[in-house]
């Protein structure tokens, strides 16, 4: 891999060089590096681009890195990665995509990730998306995440778009079994003329299943964001969805939280708040000695932390 790709890896996966544990690094459509372990197997799909990540039942404390980097222009790819997490496993999976596009053609990654979280398994899934490069070509990505959580399973998804992505449609669909729990934290920043669409759908099918979907975003310049979040309570369950957005400059944000109770014991809450940075927040930080722009930066960084 070139320095450009290594820099992207550092940005999206916070790793210097090649990670030591189980990993599969995809660089410009090729496998840059792969390591499997006794408990984590990674197999190339034969029918379409992508890999299967198979984590043995009972695996504890292991992490798996599955980053993707693209440093070419006029290049698009659709990749299918399926994650099979065995019963009672407790693992961390770090994905993410970084694009460096210095050309005039589009560079795009559409990643379709499907998770099968076993009974009583616990997964922390972290993905970061980042774009850079001074070409006029678009730096686009459209991640689709399909989540199936078996009875008693738990998944925490932390999804972050750092900066530099011109257009993204982020789709997440989840189905939960009994006693299963899903926590999603989305952090998103758009600037320039960028567009970011988020579309969460969670089906709480199992008894005592629960979901907490929280999105915080900042829209700058003339960018536009659209947040859709739908939770369906199909059993005795609890669900909460929240969208907080800061708008700056001439940006626009649409938030559409939707909750549907299809069961008498479904307890569902939605919240959405969009607004500019409160003047009193700026003033408070200025009384601590920060300039207005420093105060603004602190507030935005804190909001997206």
């Amino acid at each position: 891999m070139q320095n450009t790709e290594l820099d992207l890896l550092k940005m999206i996966a916070d790793i210097d060089g090649i990670p030591s544990g189980a990993h599969n690094i995809r660089a410009n459509g090729e496998t840059g590096s792969r390591v499997v372990t006794e408990n984590v197997d990674i197999v190339t799909k034969t029918d379409k681009p992508g890999i299967d990540i198979i984590i043995k039942a009972g695996t504890k404390g292991e992490s798996v890195h599955i980053p993707v980097v693209i440093s070419k222009t006029d290049y698009t790819e659709t990749v299918y990665n399926d994650f099979y997490i065995g019963d009672d496993a407790d693992v961390t999976i770090m994905a993410g995509c970084g694009i460096h596009n210095c050309g005039d053609g589009e560079a795009r990654h559409d990643g379709i990730h499907t998770f099968y979280v076993g009974k009583n398994a616990k997964v922390k899934y972290i993905e970061k998306h980042y774009g850079e490069g001074d070409g006029t070509g678009g730096k686009n990505m459209n991640p689709t995440t399909i989540i199936n959580i078996a009875d008693g399973g738990y998944m925490e998804m932390e999804t972050t778009q750092i900066k530099g992505i011109d257009s993204t449609n982020r789709i997440t669909n989840a189905v939960l079994g009994a006693e299963a729990k899903l926590v999603i934290h989305e952090k998103l920043m758009t600037h320039g003329t960028q567009f970011a669409g988020t579309d969460f759908t969670v089906d709480l099918n199992g008894e005592n299943s629960s979901a907490n979907v929280v999105s915080r975003s900042v829209a700058k310049d003339t960018s536009h964001q659209k947040f859709l979040s739908k939770i369906n309570g199909n059993n005795k369950c609890s669900g909460h969805t929240e969208c907080d957005a800061i708008i700056m400059d001439d940006a626009t944000v649409t938030a559409v939280p939707e909750i549907t109770a299809n069961h008498i014991d479904a307890s569902l809450i939605h919240e959405a708040a969009i607004g500019k940075i409160a003047g009193e927040q700026l003033i408070k930080l200025m009384t601590l000695g920060l300039t207005e722009s420093q105060a603004e930066e602190q507030i935005v960084n804190g909001f997206l932390k």
Binding site: R216, D244, A278, E280, Q281, I283, K284, L285, M286, T287, L288, G289, L290, T291, E292, Q298, I299, N301, G302, F303, L304, K305
Partner: protein, 245 residues
């Protein structure tokens, strides 16, 4: 020393301009200065003018002889003026540690940040990593707000009704904080308060009502009349309100 010279402030109202402050002349020496008086008399406006949050219609403000009237909030903060808001501001994502670090002007460690929280009666470990948001009660936010001023350690510290929203137990701790500040801080502390126990530790008491300073003096000079006559009208405040009481 902080000096206010002929400070006036007017704001739009239903009946045209309303004069909130009228030709205020005041010298705040190093020490413990408590401003008291009826609600709506202009006390908070005065503090905000000193901090640069509100611009006076007329007059000037001198800090150690330097005219700071036209300086911004940030510039005044960096000259050594701190301000604890009556209603603390909430921030999503900014932690108590972040806020105290920003106040101190450097990336302070947990131990040092915790010291400031302990001084305002908070069990530091329970709070230091929490966000300064709506999950904290009004009293907790108030004490964190005061801790930010302690962390700044500036030569002029303004507190706008620090006792408001604080329970009795915490109020006792707060009095101790101010007593300690009174003993150790070399600069000027200005507290807006209605509380007798805070008035009792003042070096100087200033009574503000109807936008003017009605009385200034030591606590020995002001308090007997201000607090002593509980059965009838207080003369200082009666005078302050133009006999309305």
């Amino acid at each position: 020393m902080l000096e206010l010279v002929n400070i006036s402030f007017s704001a739009p109202s239903e009946n045209g301009e309303k004069e909130i402050l009228k030709n205020i002349n005041l010298k705040l020496d190093d020490g413990f200065n408590v401003i008291t008086g009826p609600n709506g008399g202009g006390k908070s406006t005065l503090a905000k003018i000193i901090a640069g949050i509100i611009t006076p219609t007329n007059g000037k403000i001198l800090l150690d002889g330097e005219d700071i009237t036209n300086l911004s909030i940030t510039e005044r903060a960096n000259k050594g003026i701190s301000f604890a808001f009556q209603q603390p501001v909430r921030f999503k994502g900014i932690t108590v540690h972040d806020l105290i670090s920003l106040a101190s002007g450097k990336d302070i460690g947990m131990t040092e940040a915790c010291d400031f929280l302990s001084q305002v009666g908070l069990c530091a470990r329970d709070y230091i990593n929490r966000e300064v948001n709506a999950s904290l009660s009004g009293g907790e936010l108030k004490r964190i707000e005061i801790a930010t001023v302690l962390a700044r350690g500036t030569k002029v510290s303004l507190f706008d009704e620090p006792e408001a929203g604080i329970d009795l137990w915490s109020f006792n701790s707060l009095i101790k904080v101010f007593e300690k500040l009174h003993e150790t801080l070399g600069g000027s502390i200005m507290i807006i308060s209605h509380q007798e126990r805070i008035l009792n530790i003042a070096d100087k008491v200033i009574v503000v009502a109807n936008g003017t300073i009605k009385a200034t003096g030591t606590k020995e000079e002001i308090l007997p009349e201000l607090l002593g006559n509980t059965m009838g009208p207080c003369k200082v405040l009666t005078d302050a309100l133009g006999g309305a009481n």
